[in-house]
């Protein structure tokens, strides 16, 4: 236990040092909010007041709150804090986990991808790790990490284009057949998502078929982070939120209120930005060569 606490403490402080020395401000935005985000596949914990009245939800990510700060002229910011996702428990999932999220205004997704490579290299060095050891073998962290498109990966594996299959086939193939092999020998970025899976990433101009500036880093079959060249257009944001709400309603899921404050803030103006959300527990798991997330969390869900 002591070794884990020491490694975790070192990791958290090195992360802070990394960003503070690059002139980022550390922020700590609210965890209890009215709109936890419209993503169709994420479910938030509802919070009740002492008298049982609905008080809000716990964040699934600090994205909406941090973007409001960007719009208010914060400059580069990072946050190290807890996020909560209901119904997610497994070898690589805990309902409460530690997220590192950062944003660079007047920058793009390539800048935050570079940050990610640099950050992982720095943290590995500080923990005395050269190569990552997973159950399936060693994974090299040599830079630059290859960037491979979703379509290329899908084609290589299935012989079909990812634009030609149903969402259902897309998700199932990725979940069981493709994801576990990504980054199995070297850390890599999966880039260029089909436009309708953009989430809050901007669509790349003149891309055909249209793709989003969205990336995920994979190391040893584990998804480490999810980042964007951020969407700054307020009308497009409102449109995507509305579309998500309709899908959630159709699936019988809780529909959260729109984040009017963020839409209005982006309407007033948001700088072109790159941002990334990285699972700190997963990173520690990879650096220490552990098999499951609960092994790097001092008091994991199962033990509570």
């Amino acid at each position: 236990m002591r070794n884990l606490l020491e490694a975790r403490s070192r990791l958290l402080q090195e992360i802070r040092l990394f960003f503070l020395t690059r002139s980022f401000l550390e922020v700590d935005t609210p965890l209890l909010v009215q709109n936890p985000g419209s993503d169709v596949h994420l479910d938030a914990f509802a919070v009740a007041s002492h008298n049982g009245a609905h008080a809000g939800h716990l964040i699934t990510s600090p994205e909406y709150q941090m973007k409001r700060l960007l719009c208010a002229g914060s400059g580069p910011i990072f946050q190290l804090g807890k996020c909560f996702r209901s119904g997610e428990l497994g070898r690589m999932h805990e309902p409460e986990f530690t997220m590192l999220e950062w944003y660079r205004p007047n920058a793009g997704w390539n800048d935050v991808m570079n940050d990610t490579e640099e950050l992982v290299a720095t943290l590995a060095a500080s923990l005395g790790v050269q190569e990552l050891h997973t159950a399936k073998g060693s994974v090299s962290l040599t830079r630059p990490w290859p960037r491979v498109s979703v379509d290329e990966v899908f084609r290589r594996h299935t012989g079909k284009s990812c634009f030609e299959v149903s969402d259902e086939e897309f998700f199932e193939r990725f979940a069981f057949e493709i994801d576990p092999h990504l980054g199995s020998e070297e850390a890599m970025f999966l880039v260029d998502w089909p436009a309708h899976m953009a989430s809050l990433a901007r669509i790349r101009e003149r891309s055909a078929p249209p793709v989003a500036e969205r990336f995920e880093a994979y190391i040893g079959g584990a998804e480490l982070c999810n980042g964007f060249g951020e969407l700054v257009d307020a009308d497009e944001l409102a449109r995507r939120c509305e579309s998500d709400r309709q899908t959630r309603e159709r699936l019988g899921k809780t529909v959260y209120p729109d984040d009017i404050e963020l839409i209005e803030a982006q309407r007033k103006g948001m700088p072109e930005s790159g941002g990334n959300a990285l699972g700190v527990d997963r990173l520690l798991m990879l650096l220490l060569g552990k098999e499951k997330l609960a092994d790097v969390i001092p008091l994991p869900h199962a033990v509570r």
């Binding site: 596949h41 119904g87 997610e88 497994g90 999932h93 998700f171 990725f174 979940a175 069981f176 999810n226």
Partner: protein
């Protein structure tokens, strides 16, 4: 109905109107889309294994399965008699309801009887049982590196178990009732 998030080991569910128990499951949630639970299930009637992947928007039908404690009293031909420890009521089961469990029954053995919609469908004996070798070829010094084994008939049911070649008639052995396999020789007078 069970919610997708409630899936765990030993959950009893109905699939196509047949009761199953969840033996293992793997929660998979890619960052891109919905979550899946890849489950391994055991058919509670036939014992056959089934693999099934549930999506996060699917729910599972509960199977009305109850396990109750009984004690094995005696066998009368093809009929096996058990006694409910709480109310002393007797339960009569046939060989087909017992499946392989009938090979390991001993007087007064505590067992768990599985009921589906109030009908008994299976019996689970304790995971290990001590049985005496009734019949086998004489014990020989074994070359344990090659794991040579021989068949032995165990008292009182004469069930056949593969045992190491150094085992003799009259030896007491510990048998795993779930696999029908030899575990070890034990000291028992």
């Amino acid at each position: 109905m069970y919610d997708f998030a409630e899936i765990k080991k030993n959950l009893k569910v109905l699939i196509d109107n047949v009761p199953y128990t969840v033996v293992d499951f793997q929660f998979v949630k890619p960052g891109k889309g919905q979550a899946f639970n890849r489950t391994k299930l055991r058919n509670l009637i036939t014992g056959a294994m089934l693999e099934r992947t549930f999506k996060s928007n699917e729910s599972l039908v509960k199977a009305d399965i109850e396990a109750r404690d009984f004690e094995f009293s005696y066998a009368d031909g093809d009929k096996y008699v058990f006694m409910d420890k709480l109310n002393f009521e007797q339960l009569f089961l046939g060989a087909d309801q017992l499946a392989d469990a009938r090979f390991f029954l001993q007087d007064n053995m505590p067992v768990s009887v599985l009921f589906w919609n109030e009908k008994p469908i299976g019996v689970t004996p304790p995971s290990h049982v001590e049985m005496q070798v009734a019949q086998c070829d004489p014990g020989a010094r074994g070359d344990t590196a090659t794991n040579v084994s021989k068949p032995a008939k165990m008292a009182p049911t004469m069930v056949e178990v593969a045992v190491p070649i150094f085992i003799n008639e009259g030896d007491w052995l510990k048998i795993d009732t779930r696999t029908g396999e030899y575990v070890e020789r034990i000291n028992r007078k």
